[in-house]
């Protein structure tokens, strides 16, 4: 089953918001768990598109990368 962008986007945002109290950054695997029947590469395409639309941003420690909603939690602008 191919992923429909708008539906998947809604599901991802809903998931992030449901965890907003305790977490602002998520691993890639947290999102693949939302779509157990889909291939990781397809989930990545959705996430990449959301990054390109500036809904999500990448966060990295240098060794591992996480995703978060733009503006949520600590980020570069907040660190100035």
């Amino acid at each position: 089953m191919a992923l429909v962008y708008e539906e998947a986007k809604g599901k991802i945002i809903e998931f992030i918001n449901s965890k907003a109290k305790s977490k602002s950054k998520f691993y890639f695997n947290d999102f693949t768990a939302l779509f157990p029947d889909e291939k990781g590469r397809d989930v990545k395409k959705i996430l990449t598109q959301m990054v390109n639309e500036e809904i999500l941003v990448f966060w990295s420690s240098g060794s591992t990368t996480m995703y978060g909603l733009t503006g949520a939690g600590k980020h570069a602008d907040g660190e100035d």
Partner: protein
């Protein structure tokens, strides 16, 4: 003149080795003097404050860097490692001190005009400090501010025909030895394979979707100039499957002292007459070489391709003609359960364009690790947790004695139904026909 007193760092300069402190001090003077009249885009005091902050860390015994943050330019999930200092008022020059990773040329071949462009760019838009090269192999540009990142990226891609490297849970910048370009031992074109896989997996390099980091490294032969067996999650090491080529006349010349062993290396001292038994025959790890009656014989079936004999007598012994590479999986540094070397997974595969077989193996491995790997788990750890046989299964690799590292410690082998002829369905009558009650 440096603005911070750094007595603890100054002490580091007193050792016999080249000192990073001296290097940074040199850049401090250079930036303040600014002989070329550069319109610095980040504070001129950046290297000065860097030393000041480091001195403070030495005094306090703890770091003053915050960890993580911005990761790249727009659309990239890696290539930049965000660094912010937690004393920005005292050390404004390093309030932002992001690291930029830049893909190094294959085999580290540089043209001077490229290096000049790179240094000019980094004097203008960064601290002027570089690390050639980082542990992964990239060109590491140390210290810039957030507004400079897109500018640097534009210059790198549009004017220098280069790209950012990998960081975070990405495919890291692949690295290779100089291979066939200068080395007679290269069993495949390591630069070409490195380049082709880099191009093929651009998305994996720039957009993180792995559980953790993943490194490719390419050694043209088992001498391993890039030490891929220890430094990469997937290591490609050149090998051959026919016979070492032997030139008996040249062997005799080595024995007779007409040719210097080890291509003349170690010649600074008198090691005495060349002793083929002590230096070659007895050093063969699988004891597969014999020298009798002036003739050198190699039992190639037992040869483990360590290449020691070839290194000692390079004019007499040469790599075989049927060449390819071995693929090893799972090396890593000791973050979790200790360091690990790569495990031999594909003993021999031909390395010929368009490298489809190799790509199939890579993708099958990734699919499995992306599915089964835990967050922040290297593939070497997934291998240990789920077992090497799982990797063989998912990549369609047939188990082989060369996969065995050592005999089993426990005597139990659990067979799966599909591995047993006829499965579990056997009739008792069939059994009783051969075995009495």
């Amino acid at each position: 003149m440096a603005k911070h007193k750094t007595p603890l760092l100054d002490q580091l300069e007193s050792g016999p080795w080249p000192s990073f402190v001296s290097d940074i001090k040199q850049e401090i003077e250079h930036r303040y003097a600014n002989p070329k009249g550069i319109d610095y885009q980040i504070p001129a005091e950046c290297p000065d404050d860097l030393l000041g902050l480091l001195e403070l860390s030495y005094v306090d015994g703890e770091t003053h860097w915050k960890h993580g943050g911005i990761v790249g330019v727009f659309g990239y999930g890696g290539g930049v490692i965000g660094r912010y200092c937690d004393q920005p008022e005292k050390y404004p020059g390093v309030a932002h001190f992001h690291t930029v990773r830049v893909a190094q040329p294959s085999g580290m071949f540089y043209k001077t005009d490229f290096l000049r462009q790179l240094c000019d760019l980094w004097e203008l838009r960064g601290s002027g400090l570089t690390n050639m090269h980082g542990a992964t192999g990239d060109i590491v540009l140390l210290g810039t501010t957030t507004p400079q990142l897109e500018e640097i990226f534009f210059e790198l891609t549009h004017k220098m025909n280069n790209d950012l490297g990998g960081s975070g849970s990405n495919l890291r910048t692949p690295a290779c030895c100089l291979g066939e370009s200068r080395c007679e031992y290269a069993c495949y074109d390591s630069q070409e394979l490195c380049y082709q896989l880099t191009q093929e997996y651009q998305d994996e390099l720039h957009r993180p979707a792995f559980p953790y980091k993943f490194k490719f490294k390419f050694d043209g032969c088992s001498l391993g100039c890039v030490a891929s067996i220890a430094r990469s999650d997937m290591s490609f090491i050149g090998t051959w499957r026919d016979e070492i080529r032997v030139d008996q006349k040249a062997v005799a010349a080595y024995v007779g002292g007409e040719i210097a062993p080890n291509a003349g290396a170690y010649a600074g001292r008198d090691w005495g007459k060349f002793d083929i038994k002590a230096e070659v025959i007895d050093r063969c790890p699988s004891q597969c070489i014999r020298y009798e009656g002036g003739k050198l014989e190699i039992n190639n079936k037992e040869c483990v391709r360590c290449m020691h004999c070839i290194c000692v007598m390079p004019r007499a012994l040469k790599i075989g003609n049927d060449r390819g590479l071995s693929i090893l999986v799972g090396a890593k540094a000791p973050i979790l359960d200790g360091p690990q070397m790569g495990s031999l997974t594909i003993p021999f595969i031909k390395a010929e364009a368009p490298y489809d077989e190799i790509k199939e193996f890579v993708e099958a491995t990734w699919d499995w690790w992306m599915e089964e790997g835990k967050n922040r788990e290297r593939i070497g750890e997934t291998l240990k947790r789920l077992g090497f046989s799982r990797l063989l299964e998912v990549t369609g690799t047939t188990a082989d004695p060369r996969h065995v590292k050592e005999p089993r410690h426990n005597p139990y082998i659990f067979w799966k139904e599909e591995e047993v002829t006829g499965g579990w369905n056997k009739t008792i009558a069939e059994y009783r026909a051969k075995h009495q009650r």
